[in-house]
Every structure is written in C-alpha cells, then in structure tokens.
C-alpha cells in the first residue's frame, strides 16, 4: 500500500469513528453521548475563549517535564547498568518493582507527598516513565552485536567513531520505542493525576466538567488532550525516529 492509500484508509477509519459516535448519540441521547457537532462547538468555544491555552500549558508542563526528567534519569541509569553488569543486576529488579506499582497508586502517594497542585502530576509521570526508558536503554546497551564490535576493532576504529556509528544506533533501536511509549503514558498519567488532584490543567478541567455533568465539555477536553499527544509525537519523536537510522 502506498502512502496516499494509507492516508485515505486512515481518514476513512476516523470518519467511521465519527459516524459511530453520531449513531451512538442518536441511539442513546445527549445525556449519555453528546453530538459530535456539539462537542466540536464546545471545543471551539474553549479555544476561542482563551480557557484552553493555560490548561494545555499546565498539562504539557506536567507531562513533558515529568517525561524529560524520567527519560534522562532512566536512560542514564539504563546505560550505566548496561555497561556495568553489577549495577545493572542491582537496578533491574528495582525498576521492575517500580513498574509493578500501578500508576494510580503513585498518584495517591504523590498527592499525599506533594499536595494536589504543583509537583504531584509531574512526579507521577516521572516514576511511570523511568522504568520504561531504563529497560529500553539497558536492552539497547546489552543487545550490542559483538561481531560488529570486533569488526570495528579490526579496523582500528577510534572510540568516538564506535560510539557514533555502532553504540548509539544500536542503543536508539531500543531507546526510541521506549521513549515513544513513555511519552504516550506521560500524557495519560499527567491527565489522570490532574483529575484526581482536582486542581489545574486539562485533568482539573475534566474534573470540573464532570462535577457539572457536562459531557460535551468533558469530551472537548479529552479531544484536546489527544490532539496535544499527537502534536507532541509528530514534533518531537518522528524527526528523531527518521534520523536515528540515517547515521553512520
């Protein structure tokens, strides 16, 4: 299938989703599922009134800040653990334990530690992201092909060339999917933490809309959150994904 056909079928899938939404609205009534058009109108009002911007900024700061901190910490620990076997053996079970704690439990703990506003959402994102990125970086270092390493030695490759042409591409093979997965989690966890905190950001607005039983408003905020995730993926990760395989 070529790119145009893929795009057309993708659009058809989204159109199908909209049709199903509209059908659900007609079958179940506006109290269960508001009309897509009504949601779109609410969304437009949200954006035009200037209410969306600050909420988006808060959620973006929570999600991206937590993701960045968790990714840097996770990658650093993963690379160090991959290079130093004893450290790796010590860190692996720790990260599995952290990964095993449900995000919702972290939200509760963070709310108790940091209070409903401020750092709690960002911290929850950080602990969710860290073990995912750690595992990717760790695997990326361990999965290096020793045959390629020997080839590089036979040609007397200096350390910098080995790093650039061998180690980084093999690391990115595992690290980039982990970063993308972690980023998708970051938005979800940030919004979830904000909803439970009942404070600021998109999550806080969703909590308010829920309190008013305003479904159109709730869905409008959800759509904004999804749009933010997609925009972020396209802007941040797609270029890296494309570039990662082009170095040598």
């Amino acid at each position: 299938m070529n790119a145009a056909a893929r795009l057309a079928w993708g659009a058809a899938g989204l159109a199908g989703l909209a049709v199903a939404w509209e059908a659900g609205h007609r079958a179940l009534g506006p109290l269960v599922l508001p009309a897509p058009a009504e949601t779109a109108a609410t969304l437009t009002t949200l954006i035009l009134s200037g209410k969306a911007g600050p909420a988006l900024a808060v959620t973006a700061a929570d999600a991206l800040g937590g993701w960045l901190a968790g990714a840097m910490l996770g990658a650093a620990l993963g690379i160090a653990g991959g290079l130093l076997p004893p450290l790796g053996a010590a860190l692996r079970p720790v990260t599995i334990v952290i990964l095993g704690v449900p995000p919702i439990a972290w939200v509760v703990l963070a709310l108790l530690w940091f209070g409903p506003a401020g750092l709690s959402a960002g911290f929850t994102v950080l602990v969710t992201v860290l073990p995912i990125v750690f595992a990717g970086a760790f695997q990326g270092i361990l999965a290096r092909d020793p045959a390629l390493g020997e080839m590089a030695r036979a040609f007397g490759a200096p350390p910098l060339l080995k790093l650039r042409a061998l180690i980084v591409p093999q690391l990115l093979d595992h690290l980039l999917p982990a970063l993308a997965t972690a980023l998708a989690f970051a938005w979800k966890v940030a919004v979830m933490a904000e909803v439970l905190g009942g404070g600021t950001g998109i999550g806080g607005e969703i909590a308010t809309a829920r309190a008013h039983l305003d479904l159109a408003m709730t869905l409008a905020w959800v759509m904004l959150a999804v749009a933010l995730l997609l925009a972020c993926d396209a802007a941040l990760l797609s270029p890296v994904r494309r570039r990662a395989r082009g170095v040598a």
Partner: protein
C-alpha cells in the same frame, strides 16, 4: 611482513597453537588450508591483534591491515557506501572524501548507482560480500586477512568474487592471508598454500603455487595436491 614466532595459545579446551611459526611476505596471497576448528580463524584474529598469544610473538610489520570476516558484518543502519567507507572513517578521512572513494570502489565491484544508497537488508548476499571486500580494500591495506569470506555463496558468485580479490591483489600488490577449507579455492587464488594440522596447529605442508582460473587446471592441481601424503593426512583422513 607478518611473523608468528613460537606462538602458544589455549582457550581452555586444549592448545590451539603450541610453538606455532608462520611468515607472510609482502605482495603474496597465502592460502591457509585446514579442517574446521584447527585454528585457521584464530591465526587471523592473532594477526589482526584481536587476541594476544599466551606466549611467543606475533609481529605485524605491515603498515595497514584490513580484515574480511566469514560473514559480511555490515552496519544494518548504514547504506552500502557508508559501510564500505567504515575503514576510511576509522582512519579519519572526511565524510565526503570517504564516501566518494568507497562509491568508486563499489562501482568498480559492479554496484549500480541506485545500489550505493541501499542498506544491507536490501542487498543480496553476494552484494553484501562485495561491500565487505570493498570496506577492506578501501583503506589501501598492504595486508588483508580473509576468513572464508565466500563459504556461504554459490559457486558462480564465489568465482566472481575470487576473481575480484585476485584482481585487487594484483592491482594493489597487497599481501593476503586467506583462510579456507576448500582446496580448489586455494589453488585458484594462492601464490603459496599452507596446510595446517589438527590442534595444536602446525604447518604440515608449505607449497608454492601459481594461481589459475582454468577449471581443468584447478581440478588437476587439486588431485595432485590431495595425493601428497601431508595434505591427504591433514585434510582427508580422520
């Protein structure tokens, strides 16, 4: 000159070499024949400095050594040109210059312009082998270590690449230490043929040879060669 002087090496499962001697002179293609597991590959790894002898001395006085492995060992994320240019990158040649030189070499090895930008996964086995050979010759080595580089290829392709190696050797005057277990390959390519015994490896036969591409001559020479008691004992008898 490459000299092994009284080399002893043991990986823990019996000695691979016990006071092993070997010398490779400049500009000659030396074939190293022997059964699987007799230490042929290890001798190349010693020559490349990838392993050190437990005792004795490996002295590689060649200015520049390159290696072609049993498998192509290409970087999967880099295109054919960057792979062929890897050795040049290791020497510090700039990106434009090394890509130009590698591209020229690959073109001489039968690469179409469209193939130069392909990744290894998009290339056939024969094309991958060409990239590996180009990577070695790109650094203008005066010693090339080759470890059964064509063992996985079909007969027609093997002959083509053997001719390519022979041609590169004659044009550049590089010395080659060529490991193989195929007598006809050794006769086809080599100026000198060494036969190694089973472990611990010793040179049991050291014969001068004249490379030839004529199939009838290769067959006749192989029959004569295998009739020699030393060759028969090391290569055929259990």
């Amino acid at each position: 000159m490459l000299v092994f002087d009284g080399v002893t090496l043991d990986f823990g499962d019996g000695p691979v070499f016990d006071r092993f001697d070997l010398a490779v002179a400049p500009g000659r293609l030396v074939a190293l024949l022997g059964r699987s597991g007799c230490g042929k590959t290890t001798s190349l790894r010693l020559a490349a400095g990838l392993v050190a002898p437990a005792s004795g001395r490996v002295e590689n006085r060649f200015r520049r050594t390159a290696m072609v492995f049993q498998e192509p060992r290409l970087l999967p994320w880099a295109d054919a040109t960057d792979n062929a240019a890897f050795g040049l990158a290791a020497l510090g040649v700039g990106r434009e210059a090394r890509r130009a030189r590698a591209g020229d070499l690959l073109t001489g090895f039968g690469f179409a312009p469209a193939d130069l930008g392909k990744r290894p996964a998009e290339l056939s086995g024969g094309m991958q082998s060409r990239v590996a050979i180009a990577r070695a010759f790109a650094v203008e080595p005066d010693l090339v270590l080759m470890d059964e580089p064509f063992a996985a290829l079909d007969v027609g392709l093997r002959r083509e690449l053997q001719d390519l190696v022979r041609d590169a050797v004659e044009r550049r005057g590089s010395a080659v230490l060529f490991v193989t277990h195929d007598v006809t390959e050794a006769i086809r390519l080599a100026d000198r043929i060494l036969v190694l015994s089973a472990r611990p490896a010793r040179v049991v036969l050291d014969a001068e040879a004249t490379p030839t591409a004529d199939p009838a001559a290769i067959h006749a020479a192989a029959a004569t060669f295998l009739a020699l008691p030393a060759a028969r004992g090391a290569l055929l008898e259990r």
